[in-house]
Symmetry: C2
Subunit: 517 residues, 2 copies
């Protein structure tokens, strides 16, 4: 019986899409080649003692080795901990310890981490680059030494077995760990593909696309790309360690047609050159400012906005049936439709659904078949976030009469002024549309009378003046895009905005700085 376990996807791809390319840097492989390497690796790792339930950490950019390692560990029933290497070192070490990693695989270019982390996990394997301390610690040696049959244990791995473990990048307190079974991770990831195939949207996906995931694997496995590509048999290009210029070169050289990235990465791709970028892009992780959306559109990028997160997987994607032109771009940049099998409700503080009028703000609650049981060893946070089978997202959203949902802000990032919510992301969108603005964040500043008042922090060219911004904001009020009381009391120009390790603007940091001023 065929089972929904990760290595079944690769095994099938090797059988059915045998010579479809998997490209990574200078390395040209196929699904059949990757499968053979994964099998050999699994047999060696089995010999060395990796067993069902063993937690294995991986530190690497998106390479073919990281890709195939997913499936080798799946064959052993092991759990892959996709380590966020952008965390501060002490926090990174804390996650290795909290996850109880017994093995750690470190990619090329992270060589200096080996010595530091070896005492923490015991078994460190070098994935190319630096000289390994012993043959048993050299990745390619392990593959050469392997046998060409899946380990027997591979047939017993069950969809309900744990497979994936990673940590949230909360800006306050310790990260929270989340563990997914094969069934949860794969059904959640593959539903992204199903939605992109079945709905009229920008980043429409087909089995005949060439996919290049720019979301790092440590963010929910690059939003599921390493599972989606073999599942549908699409060609896969892995960007390895590449800057935006190199990424553009990969797109042209390998005729990449589909990618995923956070808005910050999209800005960098667009900034580097003025030529057209005919690419389908799945973006998300933070709201897509309308200025960026229109700029991307004018360069030929067709995009969709995905809504989801580490603790819920993907939940919704923007669609635009029957729309064209500006209406289509606005719709795709801002309003999402839940995946089939996902229920999203927007609820007020008392847990009651808010009216579906496109104006009443509430918190997004999510129910789906792939929600995790809770956070790892953190009952308090679990009980707060996972309630009666639903996930409280902590995201502020509105529901429209047509059932679409606009996610505005993190509740923590939202501004409460005189008892009313202000959606900073809408103000950010207005300011982002001004030519010369590179980045903007609107945050709440403590205010004796109103509780909080909005302040806009803007990174822009020198010719963007305060009065220009004020004029744009006033026009938005006249157009009904902003309520008058939403207008920021203060505008401040800065050189750069602080970012989190997930590539989002670090609003917690901004609030800290600007509330102290």
């Amino acid at each position: 019986m065929q089972k929904l376990v990760a290595h079944a996807l690769l095994r099938d791809a090797a059988y059915q899409h045998t010579s479809t390319p998997v490209i990574s840097g200078q390395t040209m492989l196929t699904y059949a080649g990757i499968y053979e390497r994964a099998v050999r690796l699994a047999s060696s790792l089995h010999r060395l003692g990796i067993r069902p339930g063993t937690v294995v950490g991986v530190i690497d950019v998106n390479t073919y080795r990281y890709f195939e390692l997913h499936f080798a560990l799946s064959m052993l029933g092991a759990v892959i901990h996709t380590v966020n290497f952008r965390l501060p070192l002490d926090t990174l070490i804390w996650t290795l310890q909290h996850a109880k990693d017994e093995w750690l695989f470190i990619g090329e270019g992270f060589g200096d981490l080996s010595a530091t982390l070896a005492p923490v996990v015991g078994h460190v394997v070098q994935m190319g680059g630096a000289q390994a301390v012993s043959p048993d610690r050299d990745y390619e040696e392990l593959i050469r030494d392997g046998t060409d049959q899946e380990p027997d244990i591979a047939a017993s791995v069950d969809p309900s077995d744990p497979f994936s473990l990673f940590y949230t990048t909360g800006t306050t307190g310790r990260p929270k760990g989340i563990r997914y079974t094969h069934q949860q991770m794969l059904s959640g990831a593959l539903q992204i593909a199903h939605h992109l195939g079945l709905y009229d949207t920008g980043a429409h996906l087909s089995a005949h696309d060439v996919m290049m995931p720019l979301i790092p694997f440590f963010h929910i496995h690059g939003w599921g790309a390493p599972f989606i590509a073999p599942y549908i048999g699409a060609a896969l290009v892995l960007p390895e360690r590449s800057d935006p210029a190199a990424q553009r070169a990969l797109i042209h050289r390998h005729r990449v047609t589909w990618s995923n990235m956070v808005p910050t990465q999209l800005v960098m791709l667009l900034d580097g050159a003025a030529d057209p970028l005919p690419l389908k892009v799945l973006t998300g992780g933070s709201p897509l400012a309308s200025g960026l959306a229109h700029r991307a559109d004018s360069r030929g990028v067709r995009f969709s906005l995905i809504y989801g997160g580490s603790d819920q997987l993907g939940s919704a994607i923007s669609t635009a049936p029957g729309l064209s032109g500006e209406a289509r771009v606005n719709q795709l940049a801002s309003r999402v439709t839940p995946f089939p099998m996902v229920r999203m409700e927007i609820r007020d503080a008392a847990g009651q659904p808010v009216p579906a009028n496109g104006a009443s703000l509430g918190e997004a609650w999510i129910e789906s078949p792939w929600l995790p049981a809770g956070y790892v060893d953190n009952a308090e946070a679990s009980n707060r976030a996972y309630v009666d089978g639903w996930f409280r997202s902590g995201d502020l959203a509105v529901r429209y009469p047509d059932g679409r949902i606009a996610v505005m802000d993190r509740l923590n990032d939202a501004i409460k002024s005189g008892g009313e919510w202000i959606a900073g992301s809408t103000i950010e969108s207005v300011i982002s549309e001004i030519p010369g603005v590179h980045g903007v964040a609107v945050i709440g500043i403590a205010d004796a009378r109103w509780g909080e008042r909005p302040k806009a922090i803007i990174a822009a060219d020198r010719d963007v003046s305060t009065s220009l911004v004020q004029q744009a904001l006033n026009e938005a009020v006249q157009q009904g895009r902003l309520a008058k009381f939403w207008l920021p009391d203060t505008l401040q120009f800065v050189e750069t905005l602080p970012m989190t390790s997930a590539g989002k603007i670090n609003k917690a940091k901004l609030r800290e700085i600007h509330n102290e001023q």
Copy 2:
């Protein structure tokens, strides 16, 4: 937690695609309206004693009542037995008894069956039309009497609970019963939608299509259409009892864009008028003769061929990435790609894979996540067909170097001549391309020297002569489409070809008749 059970699909559609139309005859409903009716019906049926595991038979054409009844029974954890009303009456009664149906729902126009079948099942409910014997036996009365909350039991129904039961229409011996859980039936049905969304094919499906399933619900729930439509939120048109002319009228009136049907139904739709038929059609159930394929294409029909069956659900669909014109039509009519998660192997009599050369014939073996455990109360047939987690399809097929598969014939229908297989379906394709040919079947006739020799039985206009057919066959030999020894020894013209209750040419019957002559 959201679970993969049938009524969750309708509940979500009512919430997310509230006012999307569900049209059936003169009745215009929406997903919200259908859901309300299903809830009311379920609460009444619960009051009357339908419980988890109760088997409920349904005899009806594709109506909104049959549609909503699926979900009402799902809410109760009951099993829906989709009765094949085209079976001979004694066989039909045998299936009711074998399935242990406690209730039977009979649609409009089947009124005369109520009296006959009431003694067999005890509880008969009239779904409109004839006067019911008591209010508790009148379908609309049950809906009026219901409450507007799902019965409590609905929340406990599990994906692993049995949900669907139907019988094969084997041409020899008793039908075989097959029972599917929610998980199996829904994951199998929905994978059809996923495949049609993600691959370049003729019957490409999108959430924005208007679907009209012409496959009757008693054939694997109309190939899953009642689950697919609410799952993606597509508008649904139910044809009720309609002839091809009425079906064409429905297509035009409701702007139907997608349908499913067996090749015989497609012929009838095309025969009735000469105007374009801009429709996406999923077809299958028997090979698609290339004559019909090209005729359909020239009328604007874009089609895909699906391969599957009652005892395996859907397994593969034809795709044609990068192809256009005649090559595309030929490809879409003949070669299928397995669904993601489905493995198809073509094996010889010893169980070894045949070479993937497009010529070596073998039996198609299938492995998928939704294979049933076996036939109901039929260990002998189960053990023959379900082996080591695989399903032996009994279908003769070849595999091509690109991984695509052409299913040629039922093994039982295939012709063995001098120890070599002859694929009658290829000969049928050649003859079907001759203008004026309406139907053709090639069967094996016992032969003292060769074991069997092919004979072609042809239904055609009077001006199609024997020499015309022979000329076409000889050209096909010269083109390499047919081996010389495949040429039929005999051609016979007939008025009509006998059909099975599934709308396929009854080759068993033809073999019986023509081997006696």
